[in-house]
Amino acid sequence: MHEVNVDLLIVGAGPAGLAAAIAAAEAGAGEIVLVDRLAELGGILQQCIHNGFGLRFFKEELTGPEYAQRFMDKLTDFPQIRIKAETMVIEIAPDQRVTRVTTVNARDGLVIYNAAAIILAMGCRERPRGAINTPGTRPAGIYTAGSAQRLMNVEGFLPGRRAVILGSGDIGLIMARRLTLEGIKVEAVVELMPYSSGLTRNIVQCLDDFGIPLYLGHTVTEIVGRDRVEGVVVAPVDSTRVPDQKRAFRIDCDTLVLSVGLIPENELSLQASVLLDQATGGPVVDSDYQTSVPGIFACGNVVHVHDLVDDVSEESIVAGRSAAAFVNSRRDERDLCDRRDRRDQRDQRDLCNRRDASSALSFGEHRPDAFIETKAGRNIRSIVPQKLRRDRPTVLYIRVANPEQDVVISAGGLRRKLRQVTPGETVRLTVAPEHFSEELQLTVTVEKSEA
């Protein structure tokens, strides 16, 4: 077991980690270590072989692996980025002036990195069957959509022959098409809510084009089959989401694919005492994508689940640049302290060892009055970032609570008319300091448009 000092360590080399690493290197972050559990960089993009990625970021339509490759190619321009693949981070512990990150891999065994800053880019995981507590048996043939996707697109196997998909989020919809294209009969997509949480384009391209029925306002009330799935019982639900068993019906199938939500993967963040937002399940971040712990940044699906990878790249660039600025300010301070140290060792050592005090000196954004907080108003489920810098514009990612038509969304003094909002599609708004109409907070609301 040995210890290594680095400037910046990034946990996760999916789209968020890749974009952050490149942005940080471009901004002069110094020595960067990029850690990922898998052998291949790119994270979940590598199993997303469908297209539709990059329309906004690259202004062209790419597959997941192609999108990842753009970043991986660029990574080679930066020899200061060291890649640690097949490496797992097992502990993150903020220390006095560094963050201690314990990693493990087959080549090096256990290694502890002392990083001046870290970026959390762990992404998210899928909610399993247990989390939605579907009654019935526990046979083979129940897969989360991502697992089924990996089995098919990376490992090359068919998960079954005849499937029902529960959940109409984007992964569920994409998998309906993917299974169909491989000759698996998709009997139905079942959605608990009265609307799909997926993108409209995916409903059209993945279900309608193949004639796959979508049961809105229904759920799976029982899984049947002792050893392998033999069928599922589906029932409509009322407005409180309670199934009506009298109208239940059975669909024979050998596979149940679950696309019932994603959870930002924040076990490491919690270990590091990073404050989480109940609404997003991810860290509370500011305009710089810095978390509540100085020197710990976060970006991508670990912060909030995104609809589009383009948005992940955009915010991860901000996180990378901010982390670089943090590292550089620390380096300047250290130089300053070293010089002062020679003059007066005793007085200054304290200052340099005090993480918060010293970072506040040069990374001035930490002063509480440098930020105003976002506040969710009517029909708003979540807003990221949660804390906005007063001195420059910030892109907000806003998720509404319920679908609504003909609305005005407002953020402080900024107002925009929208034909419709749904929880499945993030609203992206850029707010600038001139929109800050209240002193301490920026309230975001959706109101019916007076047409």
């Binding site: 989390a131 507590n133 009654p135 046979p139 196997f157 491989e182 002792r226 024979d252």
Partner: protein, 508 residues
């Protein structure tokens, strides 16, 4: 075909059978254990609550009371020898209202009669100091310091591995179909279960579902006829059927289903003691169980069923469990649920355990009706069965060399420096496969070499796939490791044996 011969044939590879196998492995006798499922602990033992009961719950004078208290005392040493996870966390029985306190006192007296030591009655204040997350309005509680917890399948594998290391032959995936007694021995016919198909498979074939032909090969050993001088019926739910094979119709099993709900390890330490309500006439009630691994388990329900393979959980079961435990601990949240499962208790037509020779043959010993506290009692029951075998004429001479020690590597229980050292010796321990439970490829490989042949077998031995993502990330990797270690194509890998293939084939 040559007959296999054995002194003792144990039918059933749950905790009763494996505890007996280990006990018998101390002696100079040949022992074979036969299990119809493709792995041990795949029946009732898999879904057990894992509680090492103190022994206060059982009626004085019963085998249940006696063997529970005896068994409880055997656990600490057994855990040291066999390296299964055991914690002497203690238990409490809580009274919700003042008027339940007399019942607590009666329970305490019963415990004292049974020989349970250290039981005491405490008031609300002391209870809340011990367990601050319990409801503040509980009236009083009994504390049983001897209560403990284990992981039932972890215990079964530990017992079986030590038994095997000491010479017991374990035969899996083989179901006894016929027993004839002649010339002072039994001739036992058994069939392999590879041909079992899911009930709806034939109907489903027409509809293009996975065909029975795709069911996997498992490690079925070529045993067809066994000559056994003695038989022990530890067949759990099927003990009545096995008894019937020698014409003994004294046992009938009436399964009683229990549903259990497992919460995230985030809640480690939420309660320290196993928390019991006052018992009901049919069960010890719905409990809050801290597991050895830091999860909180809620349950079980107790519901009579006619089916011997009804392992479904139900919406009603969840409501019953959750509504109940919230009265004991109002902070519990449904959103911490990570999985649920159901098991069938092998309750019988007898009130007590059925341990002793069959009326039909003295050399056919029952160890049946082992409902709660069957797991706790198992090691003591094993000793009692040995006494019955001796009475029936089996000479139990201690082996000169018996190794009571079994060890297993769990990297998550090692210190950082121990991990580093191990990883340097064998890089497979540094490849983390299950991130939620921190299980390495080395441990999964070891589990397969120790006998796991299925995804569930690996899961129960290593915990891979038992965490908060429930196998979402590690399942494809484990299929790959099983495939490599067993020399089978991935399509042949199953969840838990024939009929449960995980994959339907390769992409075109």
């Amino acid at each position: 075909m040559a007959h296999k011969e054995t002194d003792v044939l144990i039918i059933g590879g749950g905790v009763t059978g494996t505890a007996l196998a280990r006990e018998l492995s101390r002696y100079e006798v040949s022992v074979m254990l036969m299990e119809k499922e493709v792995d041990l602990a795949f029946g009732t033992s898999k879904a057990n609550s894992g509680i090492v009961h103190s022994g206060i719950h059982d009626r004085p004078g019963t085998l249940k009371a006696r063997l529970c208290v005896e068994g409880n005392r055997m656990y600490p040493q057994m855990a040291q020898e066999l390296d299964f996870l055991y914690q002497n966390n203690g238990a409490v029985v809580v009274a919700r209202q003042e008027d339940e306190i007399p019942a607590l006192k009666r329970l305490m007296e019963q415990g004292q009669q049974n020989g349970v030591t250290g039981v005491r009655l405490i008031g609300r204040g002391e209870l809340l100091a011990l367990e601050p997350h319990l409801a503040p309005d509980l009236a009083a509680a009994l504390v049983m310091p001897s209560g403990g917890i284990v992981i039932p399948f972890d215990l079964v594998y530990a017992l079986a591995e030590n038994a095997a290391a000491n010479g017991v032959e374990i035969v899996l995936g083989t179901q006894v179909t016929d027993i004839q007694e002649e010339d002072g021995a039994f001739t036992v016919q058994a069939t392999h279960i590879a041909g079992r198909t899911p009930r709806a498979a034939q109907a489903a074939q027409a509809a293009q579902t996975i065909q029975a032909a795709q069911t996997a090969q498992t490690t079925v050993l070529p045993v067809e006829t066994v000559r056994a001088r003695y038989i022990v019926n530890a067949a759990g739910l099927h003990a009545g059927t096995v008894a019937g094979m020698i014409g003994d119709d004294s046992i009938s099993i009436h399964p009683r289903k229990g549903e259990e709900y497992l919460l995230d390890r985030r809640l480690a330490g939420f309660v320290k003691h196993t928390v019991f309500p006052l018992p009901t006439p049919v069960s010890k009630g719905i409990l809050i169980i801290p597991t050895v691994e830091g999860n909180i388990m809620l349950g079980p329900t107790a519901c009579a069923t006619d089916s011997f393979d009804d392992y479904g959980t139900t919406a009603a079961g969840w409501r019953e469990v959750f509504d109940y435990v919230r009265q004991l601990a109002p902070e519990l949240k449904a959103s911490d649920l990570i999985t649920a499962f159901a098991g069938l208790r092998a309750a019988s037509n007898h009130e007590d355990f059925i341990i002793g020779p069959s009326a039909v043959s003295q050399r056919f010993i029952h160890a049946a009706g082992m409902e709660s506290p069957g797991l706790t009692a198992a090691p003591a029951a094993a000793r009692l069965v040995c006494e019955h075998l001796q009475e029936a004429g089996l000479d139990l001479k201690p082996k000169k060399v018996f190794d009571p020690i079994r060890r297993v590597i769990r990297i998550r229980d090692l210190s950082a420096s121990e991990q580093a050292q191990l990883m340097q010796q064998d890089a497979a321990y540094s490849k983390i496969v299950c991130r939620c439970e921190y299980v390495s490829e080395g441990e999964i490989r070891d589990a397969i070499r120790r006998g796991a042949t299925t995804l569930d077998g690996v899961k129960l031995r290593t915990r891979s796939g038992m965490g908060r993502c429930q196998g979402g990330f590690c399942t494809p990797k484990i299929i790959g490791i099983l495939s490599r270690e067993l020399g089978l194509p991935p399509e042949k890998i199953t969840k838990r044996g024939p009929g449960s293939p995980l994959l339907a084939g390769r992409l075109r």
